[in-house]
Symmetry: D2
Subunit: 139 residues, 4 copies
C-alpha cells in the first residue's frame, strides 16, 4: 500500500453528528474508514460507467435444476467462456432450487453480455449481476 | 446552518489521487464539498430504508395522452391524494408522448404506494420514483 | 399507434397466481397492461446501456438556496446548456431548502455529464438522475 | 412444479418487435421464458420491499487480506452469525486483494444488518448485497 496522507473536511456539526450516528450503528470504528468506503464505492461506479478497464463482477443465479438440460446448458456456457469465469459456488437451497454465484472477469460490457446470456437460459428464475473491481486502484 | 467543524481523514496517497481526479472531472472545486455529497447520499439512502420519517420523492412518468381516459385518470388520482402531491410539471415530448414529473411527500411506504398506483394506470409507458429528502437533516 | 397483436405466454399456475396478486395490489386492471409495463422498463434500461439514441432524463436536486452564489451558478449552468434542458420545476420545501426537477435531453452520456456537473455545485445537498425515454419506441 | 397454463397478452406490433429484438440479442429462445423472467424479477423486488419472509442474499466483498486482523475479524463475524450464513467462496485476485462471496439467509432486514456490519470492517474495500429469493414462490 501507498504512504498514508491526511486531508481535512469542513462540515456542519449537525451533518457530522448524523453521519457519526449512522456509521456507528453500522459498526464502523472510525470516520476515516467510512469515508474511504464511500470514496471507493464512488470510484467503482465510475469504473463501470467508463467501461474501459478489466474488472470483476459476480453473478447470482437462482434456478430449478430439474428443468431439462438446464445444468448442462449452464455448464456448457461456462466452459465456452472459461477465460471470463474465475470460479463458481453452488448452494442447494431445497429439492429443486439451486443458488449459484459465479465470479466473472473482463471489461464491463463483456461481463454484462455473458451475464445476459446466462440469465436467458430457460429455468433460471432470478439473477443479478454485481459490479465490483479488481481492487488495485482502490488502495 | 450549524457551526462549521473540521475533521481529518487518513487515506493512502494513491486512493486520494484517484478521488481527486474523479471529482475534478465532475466539476467539484474542493474535496470537502464532494465528501459532504457522499455523506448526504448515504444518509438519504438510510432514511428511505428506515422509513419512519416524512420525506420527499419525485415521480417521473412518460405516457401517451391519446390513451382514452388516461389524463382524467391521472388527474383524478392526483386530486384524491392532493395532500401527498406538492406539484407537477408537464412536458410535451411530441404529438402523443408526455413527460410528467410530480413531487410527492409522505413516509417512504406512502410515497411508494401512491407511485405504484399511478404507474399502474393504463397508458403510462414508463415511470420511476426518485427518493430524496426534505433536507432539514442534511445541513 | 400500431395495430394490436396478441401473443401467448405459458406459465405455471402458481407463478401466475402470484403475479396476479401483486399487480392487482398495485392497481392494474389487466395482465396485458402490467406485462407491457415490464417490457417497456426492460427496453428503457437497454436504451440507456447502449447509449446511442437521443433520450430524456429528469434530474431531481435538493439544495439550500441560501448558499452564496448557488442559485446564480445553477441558472448559469442551465443557460449554458439550454439546448439540453427542456424545463425546470421548483418547489419551496422550507425557508432554506429547494427541490428542483429538470428535464434533460440528449444521449445518455451527455445527460449524465451535465447532471454530474450540476450535482457538483456547492450547496446541492442531494440529487438523482432518472433515465427515461422519448417514448417513440415504446408504443 | 405446478400445472402449466397459458394467458394472452395484447400489445402493439411495434412494441412486440422491439421486445423480440432485445430478447433474441440476449439469447432467449422464446417469449414466454423472457416474460416469466420479468415477472419473477418483479416478484423478488416486491418480496424484499415487504420484508416479512425468509429469503436469500449474496454479499460480494473485495478486501485486502494484508490489513491487520481483517481475516480474523471477518471469520469471527461469520461464525457469530453462522445461522445466517450458508456458504462462502473465496477468490485470490492478486497478492493482496481477495474477493469473497457469501450466501446469507434471513428476513431482508436481518440480511441487510449483517451485511452492513461486515461492510464496515476495516480493510473491506468494496461490497455489495444482492437480494435474491429462496425460489419456492417463483415456480
Amino acid at each position: 500500500m501507498d504512504e498514508l496522507v491526511r486531508f481535512g473536511v469542513s462540515i456542519s456539526s449537525h451533518l457530522l453528528r448524523q453521519f457519526d450516528q449512522l456509521i456507528s450503528g453500522r459498526g464502523y470504528v472510525n470516520r476515516s474508514e467510512a469515508i474511504r468506503d464511500l470514496i471507493r464505492k464512488y470510484l467503482v461506479e465510475h469504473e463501470w460507467e467508463r467501461g474501459d478497464k478489466e474488472t470483476l463482477g459476480t453473478l447470482t443465479l437462482l434456478y430449478n435444476h430439474h428443468v431439462r438440460e438446464l445444468p448442462d446448458r449452464l455448464e456448457h456456457l461456462q466452459h465456452e467462456h472459461y477465460h471470463r469465469i474465475i470460479s463458481t459456488m453452488h448452494v442447494h437451497v431445497d429439492e429443486q432450487n439451486c443458488l449459484e454465484v459465479t465470479v466473472l472477469r473482463g471489461k464491463p460490457a463483456e461481463i454484462r453480455e455473458l451475464a445476459d446470456s446466462i440469465l436467458g437460459v430457460k429455468g433460471v428464475k432470478h439473477g443479478q449481476l454485481v459490479m465490483t473491481s479488481k481492487g488495485t486502484e482502490l488502495d
